[in-house]
């Protein structure tokens, strides 16, 4: 990853966010990045406060409904220090999918007539068969994709449980693909469930084994998002403004030398509790 790269982040909002990779990106003190993510959460605030991003391309940015509109986002966007380029959720999904399919655009019926059309420079075209107007959603080919998955083998074949978000399309669209995984499995394990593989190994440039690599965000079936932590985080921002995030980064990103040290800040009890909650929610069927 280099300064100025166009970086797509997998997962969605506080689900399966590759936070271990975001932490690494912060520690490398990258600058001038463009961040593309369908719904942007704390990781977007981190990168804003760290001065790493110039532009965020997204459909929505805040932590989550109960915590209201992101004060950090408002501070950086209203002051013009970071540009927020808004696309509809489907349009952003189709931008990744067009990239994944290797075509320069995909036709769609969304965003038409809205003022969002003017923000990112979306064009329209006429269907060559009927003459109807369609949105021409432009492909997005990120320089780098950072993703977190449930399991992967030594060849880089990745499997994801539960809702897949946009990771499969992002991996196909990006030039370089960096993946962290909850679990490393054998070649045989992949071959026992080939219909569960969503990213083939030939797309993956680097793979690292990082259990809890999305924490305190969630990983389907493994651990629930730590809403208490979000509450403490936003309370600190309510009290002190964006500098609270700078303090947070000191404590969680720059301070702990390893990801294990980072997880120790949450403590084993917290991880166990969130694991238990995830099992309750997904084992209930």
């Amino acid at each position: 990853m280099k300064d100025g790269d166009y970086v797509a982040v997998g997962g969605c909002l506080f689900s399966r966010t590759p936070l271990a990779l975001v932490r690494e990106l912060l520690r490398q003190r990258r600058r001038g990045l463009t961040l593309a993510r369908n719904l942007t959460c704390t990781e977007g605030e981190f990168l804003m406060v760290a001065g790493a991003v110039e532009r965020i391309v997204t459909a929505w940015m805040s932590i989550g409904l109960p915590w209201g509109v992101s004060k950090v986002m408002r501070h950086y966007v209203e002051s013009g220090r970071v540009a927020l380029e808004e696309w509809s959720h489907l349009a952003l999904g189709l931008r990744f999918r067009a990239g994944a399919m290797g075509v320069p655009f995909l036709p769609a019926l969304t965003m038409l007539g809205s003022d969002l059309m003017t923000v990112g420079g979306m064009k329209t075209l006429q269907d060559p068969y009927t003459g109807e107007t369609l949105a021409a959603v432009p492909a997005l080919f990120p320089d780098v994709a950072v993703l977190h998955v449930h399991r992967a083998d030594m060849f880089g074949n990745c499997q994801i449980d539960g809702y897949p978000h946009m990771d499969a399309d992002i991996a196909r669209a990006a030039t370089t693909v960096l993946v962290t995984t909850e679990e490393i499995v054998t070649d045989d394990a992949t071959r026992r469930h080939p219909d569960r593989t969503v990213i083939p190994g030939f797309l993956v440039d680097a793979l690292v084994h990082v259990p809890f690599g999305a924490f305190p965000h969630e990983c389907y079936g493994l651990y629930e998002a730590d809403f208490d932590h979000f509450g403490e985080y936003t309370a600190a921002i309510d009290a002190a403004g964006p500098t609270a995030v700078a303090d947070y980064l000191e404590r969680y990103a720059y301070g702990p030398p390893t990801f294990a040290d980072y997880l120790d800040l949450f403590g084993g009890e917290r991880l166990a509790r969130q694991t238990r909650r995830a099992r309750e929610l997904t084992a209930s069927a």
Binding site: M111, E132, A168, T282
Partner: protein, 255 residues
């Protein structure tokens, strides 16, 4: 009767009554999802929820309401997890009967702004953005807005059209390429609003018990016509409120 419940409860009950059995509904989190869960439990057992996080047919557990569309509470006991893009594509293909969502700022043609107050690139107030609201408004067969009725929310013309309804009311929705859909109804804390079939301007279809045309007009920032017949909604029934409260015992969305 309506004094027996608060405004959020009234809104959720009135919204839930809009949903029919054997349909598909694209529901946003918060009161819309709560109302859809109530409808499914009470009168629409074969209602299929479609949730933006890429989730179809979940069973929302009482007391474990999701706060986002992309989390295990929203996906609990789902029938299918197609992913975000494909969930929206079901709507684009015409398979989603109702889009069910809130709105920060709405105008007389039903257009919604959840993007920014002031110039887009130098906003006075930056809102979180569309999420999937634009897509729901563009692609569902019918859209129902669920919102608190406040004058500052009901403006003559939104500063930025995030989610298109009837645009300028002059056929501009169809002309823009949106082949179907559009907002059919706005459910508020004061009454039910619809749209004139010709002008596509908002009008009053019903008032909630205890409210009047005048209270609605006083809380709306533009002129509101009247539907040919004006109804008064039946107040929330005891069983509706009981089921609703059981769904949100922590009063996360019911206040």
């Amino acid at each position: 009767m309506s004094t027996l419940c608060n405004a959020a409860e009234l809104l959720a009950v009135m919204a839930s009554r809009q949903l029919r059995d054997d349909t598909t509904v694209f529901a946003g989190v918060g009161v819309p999802l709560l109302a859809a869960a109530l409808a499914k439990q009470r009168h629409a057992p074969r209602l299929t929820l479609v949730i933006e996080g890429g989730i179809i047919g979940p069973e929302i557990a009482p007391g474990r309401l999701p706060i986002s569309t992309n989390e295990m509470r929203a996906g609990r006991r789902a029938q299918m997890l197609p992913g975000i893009t494909d969930a929206f594509l079901f709507a684009q293909r015409g398979f989603v009967d109702v889009g069910f969502m809130g709105g920060a700022q709405i105008d007389q043609y039903g257009n919604i702004n959840t993007t920014a107050i002031g110039d887009y690139w130098k906003p006075k107030v930056r809102l979180p953005g569309t999420g999937g609201a634009n897509d729901i408004a563009s692609l569902c067969r019918e859209v129902i807005i669920v919102t608190a009725h406040e004058k500052r929310r009901f403006v003559p013309r939104v500063e930025f059209v995030t989610s298109p309804a009837w645009l300028r009311g002059d056929g501009s929705r169809r002309a823009a390429g949106l082949l179907f859909g559009g907002v059919s109804r706005v459910v508020t804390t004061l009454g039910l609003l619809g749209f004139d079939p010709e002008t596509k301007r908002m009008l009053i279809e019903a008032v909630h018990a205890g409210e009047t045309v005048e209270t609605i007009r006083a809380n709306t920032g533009f002129e509101l016509g009247l539907a040919p017949t004006l109804e008064t909604t039946a107040p929330p029934a005891a069983d509706e409120l009981e089921m609703l409260r059981a769904l949100d015992p922590e009063r996360r969305f019911l206040g």
